[in-house]
């Protein structure tokens, strides 16, 4: 149990520290999405001069919003699941089941991190975005697609770290640990559909 607790501590600290930063950036991203699209409506409808970049910029923001805030949502239990079986089982069986489920999720995420890395650094990442430029001292720099693709890689990496924390917590619970620190409530309005 001591080993488990020692292993949990850095994960917990990391998630406590990093996920709120992700959340903060995601808030900026969603606000920027709205602004980009409103700029487009204004330029096209009012000035009759559509801009090339707002659509892609807004997609860029949407992907980063997703990658940065999904880990926090997952940690709070905001991923949709049918938990009837787990609730019906006895404590020990339920803990084992939840460990098994976390192991599957962990495998999916580990694969995703591996593939995500080769995707971002591979051929697909070398494409240029169609319309995104950054002003650099020596002229306009065309943003590569890898900057956009990195959003999901960052997302699954953070999700994997959260998943590790959840596995350790499940193990601790199995070993009889009580009063683990709470992880925050899910959004009380999960307005999925």
């Amino acid at each position: 149990m001591g080993v488990l607790k020692a292993a949990l501590w850095p994960l917990q600290k990391w998630n406590d520290l990093v996920l709120p930063i992700g959340r903060f950036l995601a808030v900026i991203a969603i606000a920027a999405m709205v602004v980009a699209i409103l700029i487009q409506v204004f330029f096209r409808y009012v000035l009759n001069n559509a801009l090339p970049w707002p659509d892609e910029a807004a997609r860029f923001m949407m992907l980063w919003m997703t990658g940065l805030i999904a880990p926090d949502a997952y940690r709070r239990g905001g991923f949709v699941a049918i938990d009837m079986l787990e609730r019906a089982l006895a404590r020990l069986a339920a803990a084992l089941l939840s460990l098994f489920l976390l192991a599957i999720s962990g495998l999916v995420l580990a694969m995703a991190v591996r593939i995500g890395w080769s995707e971002v650094t591979g051929f697909g990442g070398r494409f240029d975005t169609a319309s995104l430029y950054l002003p650099l001292p020596d002229g306009w720099f065309r943003v590569p697609r890898s900057w956009m693709m990195a959003s999901l890689l960052v997302g699954v990496t953070l999700l994997l770290i959260v998943n590790l924390e959840l596995i350790l917590r499940a193990l601790l619970r199995l070993a009889g640990a009580r009063n683990l620190p709470p992880l925050g409530r899910p959004e009380d309005e999960l307005m999925a559909e």
């Binding site: 409506v41 807004a58 805030i69 905001g78 049918i82």
Partner: protein, 429 residues
């Protein structure tokens, strides 16, 4: 081998794996067992590609708009307006619950948002008047499915995205079916109200009082007019309309009604971002699932099987409704549309069913599935808002579900219900 994707997926789902992971784990495991490792990359890639879409952006925007309206006290005004119109009837608050949902549907694209926004307000109020908590939660859940039927609608955005239909046409086609569901529910309430002697909410309002309530609800009620009007007049695309709705909600919340404080905005943004992130990941995973499934040519096999059952579209539509209803019990509407839409849609268009009409059949059916156990999201939300157990809400909702199923069949067999408005506006042939 890959043909096992569906049973494996359902099994993982039933034992409690989050849908997102289930959509990836089931095909991933099968590909791995099959030695098709290169295609696991395809799975990952399509999660990303599935999310990287301009039309999908309407989902976070409409969520944000809905949240802003709710925080800005707009929901309250809609309820007061409904009360001024229907509060004096027997079963007044139950009617108000349904009418508010229909009005709220014009601002929001989500049934879950409807349940939580209106439920937290109306369930306690109904209980105070002597309705049982079970009943109050049930009518809240049942009426909230109108949210994604009357435009705007997250489900229809997803349908249009996957099937390449026009979002505007689907939006327009949903108006009458949504009103029909509302009318059906009110009919049930009326029958029950007379039998069980439901309470009356308020005395009959004078026309002056009604006028005042309408005035207060005027700006919120203008939202759907702006959204649909702007789309129809070519001022913006449906995705842009969603961003305009955000701006409008912000504007009336801050400056017109002055019920929204600037300090509350980050919290609203944060919640909208979190809930849309979850939905977008689900959309991506469902797209990836669909991609890998099509490698097995399973969709063609399934389509051929369905066509072999009967060549009468009316019978097939009946069977499909049955299938969708069952699927809707276990799967969220979004993933269900992404996985089944491309299989079922072409079958029925080839049989002469209008694609817009079929889109409505499928969307309404799966939307009603949001209120059926075991995977009925709005039941869970209604349960957490009311404190009533899911199981007892699920029982109390049965008469309402029955009328909704009836409406599904009306929509299925009378195309004019969905098609008249899109045809009149030139959005469908």
């Amino acid at each position: 081998m890959l043909i096992w994707f569906l049973p494996v997926f359902l099994l993982l789902l039933m034992i409690g794996l989050p849908v997102f992971f289930g959509l990836l784990a089931a095909p991933g495991i099968l590909l791995w067992l099959n030695g098709q490792e290169r295609d696991i990359t395809l799975l990952y890639r399509n999660v990303y590609n599935g999310m990287d879409s301009f039309p999908l952006m309407a989902i976070p925007f409409f969520m944000l708009a809905g949240e802003l309206m709710n925080k800005g006290g707009i929901t309250l005004r809609l309820v007061e307006f409904s009360q001024a119109l229907m509060g004096h009837l027997r079963g007044g608050l139950a009617h108000v619950n349904v009418l508010s949902s229909m009005l709220f549907a014009g601002l929001s694209g989500s049934a879950v948002a409807d349940t939580s926004a209106l439920g937290s307000m109306l369930i306690p109020a109904m209980e105070k008047q002597g309705y049982s908590r079970r009943f109050s939660a049930a009518i809240t859940a049942a009426s909230s499915v109108i949210g994604p039927i009357i435009p705007p609608s997250g489900i229809m955005i997803i349908y249009a995205y996957v099937m390449g239909e026009s979002v505007a046409a689907l939006f327009l086609a949903g108006i009458v079916p949504g009103i029909l569901v509302g009318a059906g529910l009110m009919l049930v309430i009326k029958v029950m109200a007379d039998r069980y002697d439901f309470p009356i909410a308020t005395r009959k309002q004078t026309w002056g009082e009604r006028g005042q309530a309408s005035l207060k609800a005027f700006f919120p009620l203008l939202t759907p007019v702006i959204i649909m009007g702007g789309i129809l007049l070519g001022i913006f695309t449906p995705t842009e309309a969603a961003a305009v709705a955000v701006a409008y909600a912000l504007f009336i919340g801050l400056f017109v009604l002055r019920t929204l404080r600037v300090g509350e905005i980050p919290e609203v943004l944060s919640r909208a971002a979190a809930t849309s992130a979850v939905v977008l990941l689900l959309v991506g995973a469902a797209m990836a699932f669909k991609t890998v499934v099509s490698l097995s040519h399973a969709p063609e096999t399934l389509a051929a099987y369905i066509l072999s059952l009967s060549d009468n579209p009316l019978i097939l539509l009946f069977l499909i409704n049955l299938l969708l209803f069952i699927v809707g019990m276990f799967l969220d509407a979004g993933p269900a549309i992404i996985i089944l839409g491309p299989i079922l849609g072409p079958i029925f268009t080839s049989l002469g069913v209008d694609p817009i009409h079929f889109a409505i059949i499928m969307s309404v059916n799966l939307t009603v599935g949001l209120a059926t156990p075991p995977m009925g999201l709005v039941l869970f939300v209604a349960s957490s808002v009311s404190g009533e157990k899911v199981e007892s809400i699920a029982r109390a909702i049965l008469p309402f579900l029955a009328v909704e199923v009836l409406v599904i069949f009306l929509i299925t067999y009378i195309p004019a219900i969905s098609m008249t408005i899109p045809r009149l506006t030139g959005f469908a042939q």
